[in-house]
C-alpha cells in the first residue's frame, strides 16, 4: 500500500517532456503494471508507441506480490535490483520518444494496487498489464479498461501466445535455479561417492573380475559410463552452484550463420506486432 520508491526522472535528470506535455498537470496517463522485476520489453515498446501517439504520459508500477516471502529479504533485493535495470531501460527508451514517465514500486495484490492508483489524483485512461497478471484479476478492480499485450511468436502459423523470456539481468540469477544446482550437487555427489566407495571398498573382488577380460570387459565399460553420468552431473552442478556458468552472451549456438548452404528461400515475414486484447 505504500509507494516505497517513487521515481520522477524530471527531478534528478534533465526534463524528458517536450513542449506538448510540459508541466501539464492534467495530462492523461497510461498505467503499465507488472508483477515482475523486469517489465517485458514488448510491453514497454507498445506503451511508449501509444503514449507517444496520444501525447499521454506513462506511470509504470512494479508490484511486489510477495513482500513477506521468507528468504531473509533476498527476493526483495533481487526484485529491487531487477526493477532498477528495467526502469533504466524504460527511461532510456522513453527519452528517445520524449514521453513523460514515472516509476512506482508497490506491494500487495495487483488488483488492489491498480484500483488505488486509478482512484488517486492521476488521470489514468487505461491500464496495460504485463505477463504473469491475470486479466480478470485486474479488470475486476479497475475503473478503466485493461489491456494485456500479447505477441505472436513467429509468423502466422504459430499462434502460441507467449512472452519472450528475459534471460538477462538479475532475474536470470534466480534463487530457484541456484538452489536446484545445489540440490543436484548434493544428490549426484552422494551417488558418486556411493559408487566410488563401492568400488574402492571391494577393490580385490572388483580387480579380480574387472581384469578377467573376455565378456567381463563389459564391467569396466559399464562402470565408467555410470561414473560419467553420476560424476558428470555432479561436476556440472558443482560449477553451476559456484556460479561458474557459460557466458550468457555466447551460450547460444556460436556458428557462423553468414554462409548460406543453399539458395535462400523467401519466407513470409514473421508478424511480430504486439496484439491488443480487449476485456470488454
Amino acid at each position: 500500500m505504500v509507494a516505497i520508491e517513487r521515481r520522477d526522472p524530471s527531478a534528478s535528470s534533465p526534463p524528458l517532456l517536450d513542449h506538448r506535455v510540459e508541466h501539464h498537470q492534467d495530462r492523461p496517463y497510461i498505467l503499465v503494471v507488472t508483477r515482475n522485476g523486469h517489465l517485458s520489453e514488448h510491453v514497454m515498446d507498445y506503451a511508449l508507441n501509444v503514449a507517444y501517439r496520444l501525447g499521454y504520459g506513462i506511470v509504470t508500477v512494479h508490484v511486489d506480490t510477495l513482500p513477506f516471502y521468507k528468504d531473509s529479504g533476498r527476493r526483495c533485493r533481487l526484485f529491487a535490483a531487477a526493477m532498477e535495470e528495467s526502469t533504466a531501460l524504460f527511461r532510456g527508451k522513453a527519452k528517445t520518444k520524449k514521453v513523460a514517465i514515472e516509476h512506482l514500486r508497490e506491494e500487495g495484490k495487483v488488483g488492489v494496487v491498480v484500483s488505488r492508483l486509478c482512484h488517486a489524483k492521476k488521470r489514468i485512461e487505461f491500464v496495460i498489464i504485463d505477463k504473469g497478471i491475470r486479466l480478470g484479476e485486474v479488470a475486476k478492480h479497475s475503473p478503466v479498461p485493461v489491456f494485456p499485450v500479447i505477441t505472436t511468436n513467429q509468423g502466422q502459423r504459430k499462434r502460441t501466445l507467449i512472452h519472450p523470456p528475459n534471460n538477462k539481468g538479475v532475474t536470470a540469477m534466480s534463487t530457484t535455479s541456484r538452489k536446484r544446482h545445489v540440490k543436484n550437487c548434493f544428490l549426484f555427489g552422494t551417488l558418486t561417492t556411493g559408487l566410488y566407495a563401492a568400488v574402492f571398498a571391494n577393490q580385490d573382488v572388483v580387480m579380480t573380475y574387472f581384469a578377467k577380460g573376455g565378456l567381463f570387459a563389459v564391467l569396466p565399460v559399464a562402470t565408467v559410463f555410470a561414473v560419467s553420468f553420476f560424476h558428470g552431473n555432479f561436476t556440472s552442478a558443482f560449477w553451476s552452484a559456484l556460479g561458474i556458468e557459460a557466458s550468457r552472451k555466447t551460450a547460444a549456438p556460436r556458428v557462423e550463420q553468414d554462409r548460406p548452404l543453399t539458395e535462400p528461400v523467401v519466407a513470409p515475414r514473421p508478424d511480430t506486432r504486439p496484439r491488443l486484447q480487449l476485456n470488454a
Partner: protein, 351 residues
C-alpha cells in the same frame, strides 16, 4: 573367456601420493581437453608408468578414462550448440579405421627395428607433426588476434574443397558447411593414426577440421570430443577384452578430469575464437620440445649415438617435466582467460 596376458599383469597399490597425482593430472588434462577437444592424455601414460604401472595397463587405463571424459565434454558443449554430431560420428568411425592402421604400422616397425626403433618412430612423429601443425596453428592464431579476433574466415583450401561436388555430399548443419565424404575420410584416418601413435589424435583432428573441412575452431574442438569418444570406446573395448584396464586408476583420473572438462567447456563460451588455436598451438609446441629431449635416449639404445646413463636419465626427466609444463601453461591460459572474461562480463552487466 580369459585374456591371454591377464595372469601376468601387476596392478599397483594405491597410496595418497598416487591418488593426488592422478587426480591433479586428470583435472588439468580434462581442462585442456574440454577446451581444445583433446590433449592431456599424453601426460597420463608416462605419468602412470613413472608410478610403476606397467606400460600396457597405463595405455589401456588412459584410453578407458578418455572416452567418458570426451562424452561428458561433448554433452556439455552440445548444450552450447557447438557440436556437430553427424560430423563427429562419421569422422569417429573412419578414425577407428585409422587407429587400426596406425597399430599395424607400429607393429611393422616394432618387428623390424625393435622397441627402441618403435619409440624413436613415435618420438619422430611427435616432433614432426607437432612442430609443423603447431607452428601453422600458432601463426594463424596470431594473425587472427591482430585482426581483432572477432570472426573466423573459412580457409581457402576448405573453400575450394567445399566447392567440389563429389558424391556422397554431406550437409553438416551445426558446422554450417557442405562437403564431400571423400575429404572427411583422410582427415579422420590421419586423426586415428596419430591417436594410435602418440595417444592424442586431436592434434591432427582439430586442425584438420578447421583448415581442410572448414569448421570454426569452436565447432572443430567440440566435434573432436565426439571423435575421441568413438575412438576411445572402441579402443577401451579391445583393451578391456584383454583385461588390461585398471578401473581404480581410471576412476581416480576421471574424478579429476570431469571437473576439468566441464570447466574447459564453460571456458569456450567466454573466449574469442583465436584463443582455442592459441592454447592448442602453445601446448603442441612445448610438447614437441619435450619429445625432442626424449629422442637421444632411443638413439642411444640403437647405438647411433653414445651418451652416458646419467645424461639419458636427465633428458628423460626433463622431457617429462616439459610435458607437464605444457599442460600447466595450457591450463593457466584457459583459467586466466576464463576468469578475466567473466569479470569483464560482470562489470559490463553491472555498469
Amino acid at each position: 573367456m580369459h585374456g591371454p596376458v591377464s595372469e601376468v599383469i601387476q596392478f599397483i597399490d594405491l597410496n595418497v601420493y598416487t591418488i593426488t597425482f592422478l587426480f591433479l593430472v586428470g583435472f588439468i588434462g580434462g581442462l585442456v581437453s574440454g577446451f581444445i577437444g583433446s590433449g592431456g592424455a599424453f601426460v597420463l601414460t608416462p605419468g602412470m608408468m613413472s608410478l610403476g604401472v606397467p606400460g600396457t595397463v597405463a595405455v589401456a587405463s588412459n584410453m578407458c578414462h578418455k572416452f567418458p571424459k570426451a562424452l561428458v565434454g561433448a554433452i556439455k558443449r552440445y548444450k552450447y550448440g557447438q557440436v556437430d554430431i553427424k560430423l563427429g560420428l562419421i569422422m569417429g568411425v573412419f578414425a577407428e579405421i585409422g587407429v587400426q592402421a596406425g597399430i599395424m604400422v607400429q607393429k611393422y616397425i616394432l618387428d623390424r627395428w625393435g622397441q627402441a626403433g618403435s619409440n624413436l618412430y613415435v618420438s619422430f612423429i611427435f616432433v614432426l607433426v607437432l612442430v609443423t601443425v603447431g607452428s601453422f596453428v600458432m601463426r594463424d592464431a596470431i594473425t587472427m588476434k591482430r585482426a581483432g579476433g572477432t570472426s573466423e574466415s573459412v580457409p581457402s583450401l576448405a573453400k575450394r574443397l567445399q566447392r567440389i561436388e563429389l558424391w556422397p555430399m554431406l550437409t553438416l548443419k551445426t558446422a554450417n558447411l557442405r562437403i564431400s565424404l571423400w575429404f572427411l575420410v583422410p582427415v579422420a584416418v590421419a586423426t586415428g593414426m596419430l591417436a594410435a601413435t602418440i595417444a592424442v589424435g586431436g592434434f591432427i583432428g582439430v586442425p584438420g577440421l578447421m583448415y581442410i573441412i572448414g569448421a570454426t575452431s569452436i565447432v572443430a574442438s567440440a566435434t573432436e570430443l565426439v571423435i575421441a569418444f568413438v575412438m576411445g570406446l572402441g579402443g577401451t573395448l579391445i583393451w578391456a577384452y584383454y583385461g588390461m584396464v585398471d578401473i581404480r586408476l581410471v576412476m581416480i583420473i576421471l574424478a579429476g578430469s570431469l571437473f576439468g572438462v566441464q570447466l574447459g567447456a564453460i571456458g569456450t563460451t567466454y573466449v574469442k575464437e583465436y584463443m582455442i588455436k592459441y592454447v592448442m598451438a602453445t601446448i603442441m609446441l612445448i610438447v614437441a620440445v619435450s619429445r625432442f629431449f626424449a629422442i637421444p635416449k632411443y638413439l642411444n639404445e640403437l647405438h647411433l649415438v653414445l651418451l652416458s646413463d646419467g645424461a639419458v636419465k636427465l633428458m628423460t626427466q626433463l622431457s617429462f617435466a616439459i610435458m607437464c609444463f605444457a599442460l600447466l601453461v595450457g591450463a593457466s591460459i584457459i583459467l586466466s582467460s576464463l576468469f578475466k572474461a567473466r569479470r569483464l562480463e560482470r562489470i559490463a552487466a553491472n555498469g
